[in-house]
Each structure stands twice: as structure tokens, then as C-alpha cells.
Symmetry: C2
Subunit: 433 residues, 2 copies
Amino acid sequence: MPKEFKIAKGVKDWYGKDAILRNEIKDALKRVFERYGYNPIETPMIERAETVKFKGGEEIQKEIFTLKDQGKRELALRFDQTLPLARFVASNKDVKFPFKRYVIGEVFRDGPTQPEQGRYRVFTQCDVDILGVKDMIAEAELLALAQDCFKELELGNITVKINNRKLLDGILEYSGVPDKDKFNAIIILDKMDKIGIEGVKKEINSLLPKNTVDKLIPTITKAKNNNETYKKLTEIISSKNGKQGLNEIKQLLDYSKSMGLDFIEFDPSLARGLDYYTGTTIEVYLKDKSVVKSAVLAGGRFDNMIGAFMGIKKEIPAVGFSFGLERIAMILKDIKKNIKLSNTELYLIPINTAKECLKIACSLRNNGLNVDMDLKEKRMGQAITYADSLGIPYVGIIGEDELKENSITIKNLKTREQNKIKINEVCKYLKAK
Amino acid sequence: MPKEFKIAKGVKDWYGKDAILRNEIKDALKRVFERYGYNPIETPMIERAETVKFKGGEEIQKEIFTLKDQGKRELALRFDQTLPLARFVASNKDVKFPFKRYVIGEVFRDGPTQPEQGRYRVFTQCDVDILGVKDMIAEAELLALAQDCFKELELGNITVKINNRKLLDGILEYSGVPDKDKFNAIIILDKMDKIGIEGVKKEINSLLPKNTVDKLIPTITKAKNNNETYKKLTEIISSKNGKQGLNEIKQLLDYSKSMGLDFIEFDPSLARGLDYYTGTTIEVYLKDKSVVKSAVLAGGRFDNMIGAFMGIKKEIPAVGFSFGLERIAMILKDIKKNIKLSNTELYLIPINTAKECLKIACSLRNNGLNVDMDLKEKRMGQAITYADSLGIPYVGIIGEDELKENSITIKNLKTREQNKIKINEVCKYLKAK
């Protein structure tokens, strides 16, 4: 195959098992999102470049795919689902608050790829957000939703980490980090799950003086439980912002407790490397990190973004998070035994009865069965091998005898069991299996 | 709102009714595609520029969005779903033939937009294709599938037009169109449904000499029924290619007849303005053209494309078509009375019972109900107005009395009927409605 026709770098085709699994995950997430009262919206993959570049640090700017239309307008492919949401809400007078929406769709990042961690240049983010609720009850609802999503997907046990950007600001201030270095420090802290505490210390030592680092590291280190961590920080954090952050954490822990969500871990080192967060930050990890080490869900509060898009100072409370479809799929592919290879339930094999078989196939389909048929009139053995290789569980043979008797010879490809079944009873017969 | 943050030109946000309707259409199409034995694949939105530009005429080249990655590689956003499919199959040794796949996803065209006909720069194509079947039985199955899709969507009566590119070549040859003008003539013929026969005549007169046009126009004009059209053409078409095309048309009409698909119209003027078709061409229109005049489904046979991608001369039979999601949605929005505004079934209003209500909401959700709740503790009147404006059919009031009695006061927002229902009976009560 000529080289110029290869797939582009950093992207992937999903087919067979993978494609079916991706659809199952999307459907499961949609079900849970809608159960919580979130409704769908779809924003376009192409935005004005200014929209996508808004609020992104230097690192992000480099990874934005930009392009021009025939009218020479500067455009960009969306980098995440959050900026398009803010742009949508800011420009849309119909929106009623609180506004709860979900979106499942591709985002684009022109950065390094890491297929073994589910990281591609085009990947799918599944986002839920609540706009217009300042109280931590919004976060509590989202955490309950996250738990239900993981249950619905049978993903295994999770660790939910929470922190608060106001508190983190307070901690940085307390530790003596100058304003100009604050966001860079946050970017380094955000690498914790990739490079570990030693890696973080090393990088942060080259940004900040030793005495600052010596104060910062113990302060962001969590105590033996949420209460202890909270107590420790209330004793040292004195800035208004920092105190407000601690207060928000306390409220969220209270709500979570009353909902029975007892798996939440308050971790003051949790950072999230995006500039736009203003309050709660959230990351969810699988307890079993053998397949995917990184967060499978992440997000937080961004109360200033929508107002900024509107060009006004007004705060419009907003909080949400994003599931990474590729990572969830990697995990499920590892732990699930029976991922379907095909959605087809029955493969019809006509023996010189193609025209009649076309009609029979349609009538079975009208009864709700997923039916494929041999369109090439292969030899029976070949046709069976084909159906089997596709993962279709049953074949149905239709020769002249079967036609006369209004029947199909149904063969289970696993057990090799074979029965002649009346056409109008085939659906019932297969559904009972 | 600052101008630089407006939505990009030619694209659209889908929300509320529109977004719910789009999901319903996608789900319905997926159901039918899988019933016919097609399995999902997803190819990336970004391909090498060479892949997307392959086989496109000049008009198409202009409308391809191109971009570069950080490594200066020439990339393009996919223009359709067919070229990526061919690239995928050509590069993938796992593929077993026949290969039947569907895809539902966005494609990108940097051309003029026409929102009133559902034409945008980013739009969604829902494609089904069969690869590896040369016989017209593949087309017959696809036409049956198309009919079932239109039924499932309750889209109303349709007209299916078929033609054959080999035959059209034969007709152009018979009429005396020189080889170099053939594809330009096809592009003009393809405008028939936009500019009508008079418009076509006018444009084609400036391409071809009068005696050629005088021979061509009557030849592509259909007779009073399929048999007559076929008979008329067999009498005059003598090229091998043209005869083969006629023969394929006859086979397809025979299959269709034996399946009871009696709404198919053989129209020798049907062109399809893409270079890659090699046999059957198909377009489906709604009988009622008051909302959408253009085709809602279109496609055909492209037996040479995959071999070309592989850099070999081998023919790999391929046929398929594409539903335009935006157009289907426009039609349904026009004819359907009850498109849902929200998927939420119940809106809970806590009266100083927010924490308890969070828990109750979760337990109802676990029973499969789509539940939203007032997270802002609004006044009851406000909360009811909000739920009503969102199109949620029921509200459930939870005050201290209800808590004591393990009940919710359920109010139907349409009839204003109100009943106190035990919490564990709420799902049954609402599902029975």
C-alpha cells in the first residue's frame, strides 16, 4: 500500500470488538447521565481560534490544531468540551439556569500520543456539567453520578480525589510561592500521578527556593484521613480565599457523607493543570492501576469562564467533569470476558434460494432479530467458517426442503446442535437461548 | 458578547429538542443497521491530506479543510465516510469479506452553507457499506434496509431513484460526448434536482455541441415506467459497458421485485457528482418535498476505490450509501408532533430537605427513573415554572411531612393532578401513566 495513504499519525481506527465496546460504553454513560436529568447538546468540532485558545496556557496553545476556511478565517478544532460549552451558554439567551447538559464527542490535541495509556490525537470526551449552582450540592450530585457510571460500566473499585483551587492558592500563598509562579507550580503538581512525589520535588526545586518547597510539600501532603487533613489545614491556612476553599471542601464532604459516598479522598496535592478552575477539582482513578494509571475522570469548578466569554465580570457558577472513553474502553477490554465481536445473532445460508432468503431475512429482521445472510452463495462450509470468524452465534440453512416446509435449519456454532425450526418460531427459539 | 467568541461560520449548536431528536434518529438508524448485520466502525476525523484528496474533482478539492500538525505533516478533515473506509480496508489485513459496516459521524466541507436545506460545514453522515459482493443482491439488501430505516423513523413515503454509472457512460458515448467532457457532463446532470431540466439544458449547452445535447436529453429522459425505460435503452445502447450497466439495472429491479420493493424508479438521468462511482447509483427523496427538496440518502457502487488505495489494479466490489442526519432531523421536526424537550421524567423539589432529597433522587434513579432535582432550593412556584419550561412532565414535592411518611407529592404539570405516593411506588406510578 502506498505510504501516502496510511492512517495519520496519532489516531486510530476502531473496529470489531473495540467499536462495539465503545458503543456500549457511550450508551451506558448516556443512560446514567439522563437518569440524573442531564440533557444532550452537541457543539461543533470547529470553533473560532480565539474560543479554543481562550484561557489555555502555553503548553495547551501548542497542541491546538488550527486551520483556515476559504474566507481566511482563523479556526481551531476543539481542544476540550468545556470551552465550547462556555461559548454556547455565553452566546445563547434561551439557556435556563440551572443548566445541566452532557456531551459525548471527539476532541483534538496535537500533542505526544501514548496508545498504551489510551492517549491519541483525536479522542472522545464524555462530559457532564451543571451551570448556575454555586452550592457544593452540585458537586455532590456529580460524584453520585460518577459512582453510578462506574457501577453501570462494572469498572471495579474507584478512588475519588477532591481538592479545591481556592485552597491550593491559599496553600501556595502560605508556602511563599510568588503570584507569578503559582500556575507553573500547579502544572508541576498536576504531574504527581505520572512522575510521583520525588519527580514533583525535583521539578519544583528548579522553580522555587528551597525554603518554599520545604514548606509546600508537607502542606500538600494528606494526613491519614479526610478529617485530619482538614484539621491540619484549618490550623495554618489564613487567607480569605484559602479558608473559603477549605469551607467548600467541608461542605462537599458533608453532602457526600449524607449520600453514603464514603470513598472520597480529600487530597490537597491534587492540582489539575488547567487555568480555568476556580474551586473544587476532582479526579477519579481505578483502585487497580495495572491497566490505566492516569485518571479516568477529571474535572472541577470554573465559575469565571462563562462571564469572561460574555465580556462581563459576572460570575456564572459552573462545575463538571469528563470521562475519557478510550481509557474506560482499555480497562473494560482487560477485565470483561465476553465482549461481543458482532451484534448479529443469525447468519442465513441460502442453498440456491438467495431470492427467497432475502425475503426471509427481512421478515426475521422485522421481528427484531439481527440477521445477516450469505450474499455470495458460498459453499456451506465456507459460509459457516465466515459466520464463526465474525462471532455470529447461529447459522440458519435454507435449502429447497426448508423452503417447502417453511423452516430453517438452525445450527448453534458453539455446541454444533442443529434443529429445523418453523420460520415464524425462529425468533422465539433464538431469544429463548 | 465579544465578536471573537461567536460560533464559527457555517456550523451549528444542537440543543434542546434538536439534540434529543438527533440522538433518537442515530439510535433508530443504528438499530436497523445492526438488524441487517452491519457492525460499527469508527475511523478518525483526521486523515493524511492525500487520502481525503484522492479521487475528488476540482470542486471537492476546494472544500477540503486542510491543516498541519506540529511535525508539519499535511492533514485534512474527512470530507466523507467513504474514502476513510477504503483507506481502512486497504490497510487492514484483518478484514474478512464480505465486510459490512456502518458509521455515524461528522464530516467537514468548507463550502457554501444552506441551513434551510440542512447544509452545514460540519454535518453528520450515517453510512452503510457492503464490501466484497459483486452481485446486485448487495444493492437489493441495501434498498430493503433503506426502506426499513424510513419506516422506523416514520419519515413518510419515499421515492428511490436508481441508475448505473456504466449505463450513463454508455449513454454519453451514444450521444457523442467526448471522453474529456464526460465527467463534466455528469456534474451538470447531478444538478437536476436543484436546477431542473431547463437549468441542466442551459448549462450543458455551453459544454457540448447542439446535436450532442439533442441526442443526450431524450436518452436520459425516463419513459412512463421502468420496463419501458429499460426497453428503450436496450434498443439504442450498444457499448459493452453500457450494456453491462443495463444488465445490472435489470438484475437489481428483479431482486427488488422479488422482495416486494415496488417503489423503485429507474431514472437514467440520475448522475451523482462524484468521480468514484463505477456501477449502481442511488438517491432517495421524500415524496413530500415541502421541507427538504434534496436527497435524504445517496450512494452507489465504487468497485475500483479500494484497489486504488492498495496501489493494485484489483477490483474490490463495494457498494453503500449515506443518510444525511441534518436533513432527516429537519423533516421529522416538521412532521412529528411530540418531540421531547427533555429526557427527564420527574423533577424533585425539596422544601428544606435538600440532603434527604439527594438520597431519594439517587434511589429513584437506581430504579430506572430519569430524575432531576432543584439544587438551588428555589421557591416552589419558581421551581415548578422551571421544570415546566424544561418540558419535564412531573414534579415531586418533598417537605417534612412527606419525609415522615416516606412519600412524595407527585404533580402532573399538564393536568395539575396531584397525589401523595409512597417513595417505593413512585416508579410504578409514573411508568403506569
